[in-house]
């Protein structure tokens, strides 16, 4: 083996790596926010007494959780133009990741809601509150708190999965790395560096989500 390691071309390309990090974080965080919101809607449909709503939610969740995310984003990016919906790589990536995240978030949050004692809901009802208000003001925060660690791992997993979005030319970290590889052929150095960056990103995300959790869920437990 007479390969000479040379990281210089990788480091020289730092501006595009920074762009990649920004792209990755932007797409992931938007998908997290949209995905969690949409997930809560699906969760409520899933727990609804109305059979039709429940059936739609269950089918959706099963469909998403049992197909690869790569296929989902291909469908959004390459498939949907057939019905007149043309999205940029980035838009397709955010949409696909949102749809994907929603299905997982729905199931995680459902676990949280089911962990809430019925007495909490009864107290809200006895005070004359409407169902929507009860969920919004009484159930939501303790429910999310109960499943927050699981939700965070799902978010981190999604951030890592965003590397697949390079396949539809979404301008995230892996996309820039591939471009750089094509220009310099320093595959070993590039993908090693890429791995280190993803590792740092997931650590960063884990700490950031932990801090958000500590602020939002700062009330003392029973």
């Amino acid at each position: 083996m007479n390969y000479t390691f040379d990281f210089a071309p990788v480091f020289a390309a730092w501006p595009s790596l920074v762009d990649g990090v920004v792209g990755t974080l932007k797409m992931s965080s938007l998908s997290m926010i949209f995905g969690l919101s949409l997930g809560i809607v699906f969760m409520m449909m899933r727990m609804s007494k109305q059979r039709a709503l429940k059936a739609i939610a269950v089918s959706y969740i099963e469909m998403i959780r049992n197909t690869p995310i790569l296929v989902q984003v291909f469908f959004v990016f390459f498939g949907m133009p057939a019905i007149g919906i043309r999205l940029s790589g980035e838009q397709a990536a955010i949409l696909a990741m949102t749809l994907n995240c929603a299905a997982y978030a729905a199931e995680i949050v459902r676990g949280g809601v089911q962990s809430i004692r019925p007495g909490q809901i009864e107290a809200g009802r006895a005070l004359g509150m409407h169902t929507v208000d009860i969920y919004r003001f009484i159930v939501f925060r303790p429910a999310i708190r109960a499943v927050y660690p699981a939700l965070c791992s799902q978010f981190i997993l999604m951030m890592l999965n965003s590397s697949l979005m390079s396949s539809v030319s979404a301008e995230e970290l892996t996309y820039f790395a591939q471009t750089l590889d094509a220009q310099t052929f320093r595959s070993f150095e590039i993908y090693l560096t890429l791995g280190v960056i993803y590792l740092a990103l997931s650590q960063f995300l884990s700490i950031a989500l932990g801090m958000i959790g500590r602020v939002y869920f700062s009330y003392p437990a029973k």
Binding site: A123, R125, A126, L127, P220
Partner: protein, 251 residues
């Protein structure tokens, strides 16, 4: 306080039957509660006493019979339950305070969302009721930081913030350590003195003697006996009542 005028009916239940599957938990309940009347409901566990009061604010559905609160008949499906709940406050065995909200926020939430009161007004009323239950100094704490007795007093204040005309107490002292029972009972006695209509499921017979106009004994889903406290305790007419009283009083 037995001189409080008991004229119009606050609650009237007639022919109420309720089943859980094949098990009938309420059997032909007929009960009239006058305005300002204080009723203590007792009986062995599983006798249906909690279920009965939970039907009044429609936390439980009934299958037969009718329940009217302040003259408004509760529809079977509970479509007017919210209307009835405006007049009816409830205190639970397990307190059921909202753990993520401070004591003050616990007392403000429903005022804001249901009554649409302003923040200042809601806060003002919450503080008044917290003072009334002697816990105003804990307003900024969270439920988990309070003792059981304190939590139950907050729960009482939270219910009072909605200006209920009727208060339902579902074994309010059963989950408390013995030394905390008194502070909660004292709060309830002071409420009774103010003439609010009260139905209280409890085995605190001292409380029954002090405030009840009537003590009602239930067993296996039926009202067995209903009498003034002095008669109820000294001269119960039913065998089952006697057995029950001997079980809870003799030790």
């Amino acid at each position: 306080m037995n001189g409080t005028s008991i004229s119009e009916k606050a609650i009237s239940m007639s022919g109420v039957n309720k089943w859980y599957g094949h098990l009938q938990v309420l059997k032909g309940i007929n009960l009239e509660v006058g305005r300002g009347e204080h009723i203590v409901l007792c009986g062995p566990s599983g006798s249906g006493k909690s279920t009965l009061i939970r039907c009044i604010n429609h936390l439980e559905e009934i299958q037969q019979g009718s329940i009217a609160v302040n003259g408004t008949t509760l529809s079977q499906k509970g479509s007017n339950a919210d209307h009835i709940r405006r007049d009816v406050g409830m205190v639970f065995q397990q307190f059921n305070l909202f753990p993520h909200l401070t004591v003050l926020q616990n007392c403000m939430l429903a005022q804001r969302r249901v009554r649409k009161t302003s923040v200042a007004e809601a806060k003002d009323k919450a503080m008044r009721h917290l003072e009334r239950v002697h816990i105003a100094e804990q307003a900024q704490k969270y439920p988990a930081q309070l003792s059981g007795g304190q939590q139950q007093r907050v729960a009482i204040a939270r219910a009072l913030c909605m200006d209920p005309q009727i208060m339902l107490f579902d074994e309010p002292t059963s989950a408390l350590d013995p030394e905390m029972v008194k502070e909660v009972l004292d709060t309830m006695i002071s409420l009774a003195d103010d003439g609010i209509t009260m139905i209280c499921v409890t085995h605190e017979m001292g409380f029954a003697r002090a405030v009840a106009h009537r003590v009602i004994f239930m067993d296996r889903g039926e009202i067995i006996e209903s009498a003034k406290p002095d008669v109820f305790f000294s001269n119960p007419s039913h065998e089952r009542t006697k057995t029950f009283l001997s079980q809870i009083l003799n030790h």
